[in-house]
Subunit: 217 residues, 2 copies
Amino acid sequence: MADSPESPDQLILAALDLFGRHGFDGASTRAIARAAGRPMSAITYHFGGKEELYVAVAGYISRRIGAQMAEAIETAEAAREEDSPAKARAQIRRIFSTLVTMFVQKESAAWARFIVREQMEPTRAFDALYNGPMGPMLQHITQMLCRAASHRIGPDEARLRVIAMFGQALVFRVSRAVVLRSNGWDEIGPAETEHIRRVVLAQVDAILDSLAAKDEA
Amino acid sequence: MADSPESPDQLILAALDLFGRHGFDGASTRAIARAAGRPMSAITYHFGGKEELYVAVAGYISRRIGAQMAEAIETAEAAREEDSPAKARAQIRRIFSTLVTMFVQKESAAWARFIVREQMEPTRAFDALYNGPMGPMLQHITQMLCRAASHRIGPDEARLRVIAMFGQALVFRVSRAVVLRSNGWDEIGPAETEHIRRVVLAQVDAILDSLAAKDEA
DNA sequence: GTCTATAGTCGGATAGAC
DNA sequence: GTCTATCCGACTATAGAC
């Protein structure tokens, strides 16, 4: 017992995987407990019930992604006052490169599925995800896009543009089955990941170019 | 009874809605039957069981989307041999405009959710969706992108680019909760739909421009 | 063909031993 | 604190009346 990870954490990791794969109803507490090597009653004891476990998973994801995104945000914060389109553009590219990595890599599959489910049919857990990593990041990229476009576009238009650009990375998680089948891939390995990253960044560049050109007019 | 729609169709429509919202496990046959105004045993009688009903829903969606996309595909087929970048570009814009409409409108919510779920964790029903409307449409747009780029890019790169562009429209369905909250919208009405369409098409244009420019170099 | 009644299974929650 | 044993409700599927 002394060398085993804490019981609640084991349960959260197992729950993250199974909720993501099968949804709230599809993942039984019995299956989650078995995957964590614990009796089902441990869920009741540590969290109170299935629903509370679900919310706890959302909180866990928020903290994890928040940490993973912190550096990208922080370095950007340092240059916040500096209103340089070129720097803003570099930041945007860097964030999208990170996003592609996160969405494509296998380890992200579990929590990516969890988040996508939660967005389609939001429950109480959505607040934790939105107020945690998603809302601030979206707002941050939106600000940078305004700067990259030399404030030629306002925040309302920039926000929609960022969401659309975000979709270019997200689709490789959500529509992964189509990506694999249409390309005849068995899995998305390092080579395929780089191919995807190159395409997404090229199109982000194209969009940023068009906004810069607009500015010169 | 004489004026009521056919019983199987009612069940499929109810199942489409509930499977989309709650997933396969979350939607009970009882709830589906009640929504259709039928006894649960009608599902057994007409389809054999819950799983078969699920597959039937996938088939229904395939046929519906196939019909909805048929005109866009057909007009494009007519100009198939004509290798004009300008025409290909117009076709691509038209298809993406249609996609935005489909993804944003409320009526599409049910089957869009169904498809997204099926892509994240494919079951037998995925084949019907991929071989029906999705695969052919993807291949079609890919061909047109090659033409729009004057064959400057090959089909492999074009396919990834089309998927990424597709994501720009898809995200407004998948991340609808974030779109609403970040913009402070209550719903996505006609004005908001047009705003989204304008942004997506502008970014599609930017991407197409960059490929055309590449060609001139 | 359509519905009612019922059987059999599995899920989440809880009581209580240790 | 942790696990075992058990309860109760909800689910799918089926049998059989009409």
